[in-house]
């Protein structure tokens, strides 16, 4: 891919395509578009949904998307493999409160597993192997004195994790909202909040663009960051509106929508927590060398 150009129309607005995953995490950008924060910057943003980084990263690299959303570990992986990506703004972060985070490891109500240490030697379902969820679970288990090497991870989609837990096919599963609320509503129990347990300010996901595009269009990047920061802050301070905007791009049940735990949407990237994730990735063998956080992060 050549990084591409932003299409700027005659009236000075720039059309942007942003690849996002249709989950709670990206509520701020939807809200921001709705509130006109991007328009104010002269950006005409179209949001395109995809199932995960596998579809978004190549899209950004090839210039099909100008920006994308991805979890931090994926970005670290890409960066350490030499993909020229650059984070432009923070995305979503842990609430930092145990049992009140937007992602956690759940077990059946009557499961003997009660602490993170109990997870050692168990079968745990995660939505992607060798990624942010496994490294953070490993971390909390290790911290609790268990040996994460004995954990057997199984990959399942979020919608199926609760079912697998209920069926007893796995001992535990890591889910995020809205599945966390759905599962606990149906009687499942949280064992540990793996994000908050890793770092209270854990940067779980971020918005990024390709190095090439950013070099060519520094102005656009700046405007996008500005609008995005505004959106993040707005979403943080207007929780109800953030919940309401979910209606626009998800099909979350209204009751769940009302009670689910919203993540934190900080306006800036918490570099320390990214470093933590990078260290974890290295430790768990996801990467062989530390990516250059200086070039990856803004």
């Amino acid at each position: 891919g050549d990084g591409g150009d932003a299409a700027t129309s005659s009236d000075g607005t720039t059309a942007l395509k942003v690849g996002v995953i249709p989950i709670v995490d990206v509520a701020p950008i939807y809200l921001g578009v709705k509130q006109g924060f991007f328009k104010e910057e002269g950006l005409e943003v179209t949001l395109e949904t995809a199932q995960g980084g596998a579809a978004i990263v190549p899209g950004v690299v090839s210039g099909q998307f100008q920006f994308g959303f991805s979890n931090t570990t994926s970005l670290l992986l890409a960066s350490s493999q030499g993909l020229p990506l650059k984070v432009v703004t923070a995305g979503v972060a842990s609430t930092g409160e145990a049992d009140k985070d937007f992602g956690a490891v759940i077990v059946k109500k009557d499961s003997p597993i009660t602490t993170a240490a109990d997870l050692a030697g168990k079968r745990i379902a995660v939505n992607t192997l060798k990624n942010i969820n496994t490294t953070t679970i490993n971390k909390v288990v290790r911290d609790a004195g268990g040996d994460p090497a004995t954990i057997k991870y199984v990959e399942l989609g979020f919608p199926d994790i609760a079912a697998a837990v209920a069926k007893g096919d796995v001992d535990a599963g890591q889910v995020v909202e809205p599945f966390l609320t759905i599962a606990t509503g149906q009687g499942d129990r949280q064992v540990v909040s793996n994000y908050a347990g890793t770092d209270p300010d854990l940067m779980v996901g971020m918005y990024f663009g390709s190095q090439q595009f950013l070099d060519k269009n520094p102005e656009v990047a700046k405007k996008f960051t500005a609008a995005m920061t505004k959106s993040l802050e707005y979403a943080s301070s207007h929780g109800d509106e953030a919940r309401a905007v979910l209606n626009d791009y998800t099909k979350i049940d209204p009751a769940v929508q009302k009670s689910l735990v919203l993540p934190k949407w900080p306006g800036t990237v918490d570099k320390d927590s990214v470093q933590v994730l990078s260290d974890l990735a290295l430790k768990d063998g996801l990467i062989t060398k530390q990516p250059d956080l200086g070039t990856l992060l803004p």
């Binding site: 995960g52 596998a54 579809a55 190549p58 899209g59 099909q64 919608p159 079912a163 998800t250």
Partner: protein, 264 residues
């Protein structure tokens, strides 16, 4: 004259019988969760799916998505059929070409379209062409293999007849090879039609190309189980309709064939 009513009866029968089969499946789908054999949280009863479907059917978005899916599917299928038939007839009628391409074809066929997703996104992003490439790639092989075997099925006496009357190569293809391969092509069409639908949906689901698949993806990642299956129902129904179409085509085009003429 005694059996004049026969054709009418014959055309009415499959519909009702087929509906009976579907009804049995519906009953099973309703009963399994209701009797607690499967957890209704994860597989809702059929009635819940239908209720959800009825709700969605009132929205314009649903119909737009259905239209987008059908368009992508039909286009991809048409391209795959045309390319598969052309390539199959050419490669199948020229032994040298067949020998040359055999290993390459076998190499390319098992490569899952899913593995190609990053590549097509790289080129086309999450736009319709992305799904189209995947659809064409996957269904092309279905048609090709069927046509290859169909072309090889030409009766040698028939072929010799055509040769002895010095039919041109083109005429042989049109009047001998094509009709012989036709039953295989129909099967190829039926196989390709569903593979194309599957890939269209999958591409929409994973890449986010607009269509029913994307709606399924949305419903899935929102934990909306009933809605997910409601959409799956729609996809299945499209599959059934496609088959009805294929059977109708077969009935006309293969009137002469043993399989059709016997069970008139």
């Amino acid at each position: 004259m005694t059996v004049v009513s026969l054709p009418g009866r014959a055309s009415a029968r499959p519909v009702s019988l087929g509906l009976l089969g579907l009804a049995a499946a519906v009953a099973l789908l309703e009963l399994l969760p209701r009797l607690g054999i499967v957890d209704s949280r994860f597989l809702p009863p059929f009635s819940a799916m239908v209720r959800s479907l009825a709700e969605q059917a009132t929205t314009a978005a649903f119909w737009t998505a259905t239209g987008q899916t059908l368009r992508g599917w039909a286009l991809g299928l048409a391209i795959a059929m045309a390319a598969g038939i052309a390539a199959g007839v050419v490669v199948g009628s020229v032994p040298l070409l067949r020998a040359l391409t055999a290993s390459t074809i076998e190499f390319l066929r098992p490569i899952p379209s899913v593995a190609l997703i990053p590549l097509v996104v790289l080129i086309y992003g999450s736009e319709m062409p992305s799904a189209l490439v995947l659809v064409v790639y996957a269904s092309f092989w279905q048609v090709l293999v069927q046509v290859l075997y169909g072309v090889a099925d030409v009766d040698p006496v028939v072929r010799d007849t055509a040769r002895s009357y010095r039919f041109s190569r083109r005429a042989i293809v049109r009047t001998v090879v094509w009709p012989t391969a036709m039953p295989y092509v129909v099967t190829g069409f039926r196989l390709a039609a569903s593979v194309a639908l599957i890939l269209e949906i999958t591409a929409e689901l994973i890449i986010g190309v607009p269509g029913l698949g994307r709606s399924i993806g949305l419903a899935q990642s929102s934990g909306a189980v009933a809605e997910t299956y409601a959409l799956v129902l729609v996809v299945g129904v499209i599959g059934v309709l496609v088959n009805v179409l294929a059977r109708a085509v077969e009935k006309r085009a293969l009137r002469w064939h043993t399989s059709v003429r016997r069970d008139l």
